[in-house]
């Protein structure tokens, strides 16, 4: 049983608990070529969004979102500017909480638990769901301390050196920085800084990595290195990437969600138009709006 086409307008919400959506079928080892055979994708659900509306004050930013994100899969969110894709991804780990007037209705379930449930500490949510931001944002500390700071605070003090090395190797930047760990992270190039930020995020071993346009400030070579890295990371992590670059979604993601701006009914809210396997979404989209967008006829 594969997750199929979940479209915001069409989905009929089942009342079954979401755990039924996962299977006990042992996960097939995810080959790099996993995209070839879509049936090999994991169907274990990490995020289950049900009728999610997001508001900023009285403004409806995202409307009627129903979407499931599967484990160890790279899920891309694409769409024109202002369609709410960044809002959605930041809603997943409560990074929007600090924005005045931010409000969510509907359910954002993470492994079946409501992310916005009462008694949920956003700090714990973010500890499990890491994030990489649009602009590389290393701390003004040494390269070593950029990685080691959070584990130290979270109580992962033993084997810190090994943890730092593992994270830097995991982010494919170890060879470039191993001789200058005590040097300032601000001295690194943009692409190195972004990989350092990814290393920093994986050093605390989260479950999910959210990447909000991680390559938009990078040149093509740095972009390629980050994309390559994502393919490695998906073996251990569930990745959600927001990108306004369709080619990037096509290159890295197994599943792609196309968001658009719905201007009907006198409001402008982001909606999920189509969500499918990347290959199908780009070659045989079922929605005219998706086809217009991916073929460049949009707007």
């Amino acid at each position: 049983m594969t997750e199929i086409n979940i479209r915001s307008e069409q989905q009929v919400e089942s009342s079954q608990p979401d755990t039924d959506a996962t299977t006990d079928r042992p996960l097939a080892p995810l080959a790099v070529a996993a995209r070839e055979g879509s049936s090999e994708l994991s169907t274990e659900v990490v995020f289950d969004l049900r009728d999610v509306d997001v508001f900023y004050g009285s403004t409806l930013a995202v409307h009627g979102l129903n979407m499931k994100v599967n484990k160890n899969v790279i899920t891309a969110m694409i769409g024109p500017s202002g369609c709410g894709k960044s809002t959605v991804v930041r809603t997943l780990n409560r990074m929007n909480d600090s924005i005045n007037g931010f409000r969510v209705s509907g359910e954002v379930l993470y492994h079946g638990h409501d992310v916005y449930g009462s008694g949920v500490d956003p700090v714990e949510v973010r500890r499990r769901i890491g994030m990489v931001f649009q602009r590389p944002n290393p701390f003004p500390k040494s390269i070593y301390d950029n990685i080691a700071w959070a584990p130290r605070i979270l109580g992962m003090r033993s084997g810190l050196d090994e943890r730092v090395e593992k994270a830097l190797r995991g982010a494919a930047i170890w060879d470039e920085v191993k001789d200058r760990l005590k040097g300032s992270a601000l001295g690194l190039s943009g692409g190195q800084q972004q990989r350092l930020c990814i290393a920093r995020a994986i050093a605390i071993e989260p479950d999910v990595l959210l990447l909000d346009e991680p390559c938009s400030a990078l040149d093509p070579i740095a972009t390629a290195s980050v994309e390559e890295l994502m393919q490695d990371l998906k073996r251990s992590y569930t990745l959600v990437i927001v990108t306004h670059n369709m080619q990037q979604a096509a290159r890295v993601a197994e599943r792609t969600a196309f968001f658009s701006l719905d201007v009907s009914g006198g409001r402008r809210a982001g909606i999920l138009v189509e969500y499918d396997e990347t290959e199908k979404l780009f070659t045989r989209p079922s929605d005219q709006r998706t086809e217009d967008y991916v073929t460049g006829r949009f707007g």
Binding site: N93, M95, S98, N100, P122, V123, E124, V125, R126, R127, R128, G130, M131, V132, F133, R135, N137, P138, F139, P140, W149, A150, I153, L154, L186, C197, R200, A201, I204, P206
Partner: protein, 302 residues
């Protein structure tokens, strides 16, 4: 209908139309504003020169290290007790004001919503604008009349702390808000709590600004006279560190009292004390400003 067309081929050096008049106005206004700016510098220069001319002759090692000579109009002696007293008063005041000011700044920049931040900022600005003599009367009624029943150095330090708090809070808050939001996001995204983010990211990033604001407030408190008149003006000439016991000798009140005296030797001592105070405050201000500029550059370079 309209002015005749200019000959575009005319040499550019040739002045046409009303340009000559407009040029004169331009020069005049430029000169006027420059003169006004120079005036401010000149006033400061003149002030410092006056203090130096009158005060420099009495400055000596013994002036800085000896207590005042005993006896009406006695010459000789120094202002050591007042120097020690002023430093003591503002050190205690800053020790009270700095933690409070930094905590206020943290609340304002990191926790408060606009609804709460705005009235608090307004209150800080009003407190900053409150005449220091009013703060002096307040400390007097609270601690001299109400608490100790006599003047104490602590009452003076309290009044000076009230003056310092808004300065430290605003300066620290300004530097904290210069710490990029992206760094806070990065920290929050790692599952770090807000307080640890403040300790690990925000405070280290704004430490220079906090120190600077504190140094500037320190210098400001050093020159305040009005609150001291109520709280620490009746003192003997000897050096004391007992801040809860009695009034503490200090430079501003020494200047006031010596300058009101009828004896020339007291006048000379007042000028000398004024010179010491001006130098002290200039050093504080300049070092504070140098540090502030360095901090700003560091963040704007990012």
């Amino acid at each position: 209908m309209s002015t005749p067309l200019l000959d575009p081929a005319r040499p550019l050096t040739e002045i046409g139309g009303n340009l000559a008049r407009r040029r004169r106005i331009d020069h005049f206004m430029r000169g006027g504003s420059m003169a006004a700016a120079l005036f401010a510098v000149a006033v400061l220069g003149l002030l410092i020169a006056t203090v130096v001319v009158h005060g420099a002759s009495v400055i000596s090692i013994s002036f800085l290290t000896k207590d005042p000579a005993i006896g009406l109009g006695a010459s000789g002696g120094g202002i050591a007790s007042a120097i020690v007293g002023t430093v003591l008063l503002i050190v205690v005041a800053t020790a009270i004001a700095a933690p409070l000011g930094v905590l206020i700044a943290i609340y304002l920049t990191e926790f408060a919503t606009q609804r709460f931040a705005r009235p608090i900022r307004l209150a800080l600005d009003l407190l900053n604008g409150t005449p220091s003599i009013v703060i002096g009367v307040f400390a007097y009624s609270l601690l001299v009349v109400g608490g100790f029943h006599h003047q104490t150095g602590f009452a003076a330090s309290f009044a000076l702390a009230v003056i310092e708090i808004p300065l430290i809070a605003r300066a620290s808050g300004e530097m904290m808000s210069l710490v990029p939001k992206e760094l806070r996001d990065a920290s929050h995204g790692l599952g770090i709590s807000r307080w640890r983010t403040i300790l690990g990211i925000v405070l280290p990033g704004s430490l220079g600004g906090i120190v600077t604001g504190t140094v500037l407030a320190f210098a400001r408190a050093g020159g305040e006279t009005a609150p001291l008149l109520f709280t620490s003006s009746i003192f003997s000439g000897s050096t004391t560190l007992n801040i809860f016991g009695a009034a503490i000798p200090n430079i501003p009140v020494t200047i006031l009292q010596d300058s009101e005296s009828g004896f020339p030797s007291d006048h000379a001592r007042a000028w000398g004390a004024a010179l010491v105070l001006v130098v002290f405050i200039l050093i504080g201000n300049l070092s504070g400003r140098v540090m502030l500029a360095r901090q700003r550059r560091r963040y704007q370079a990012r």
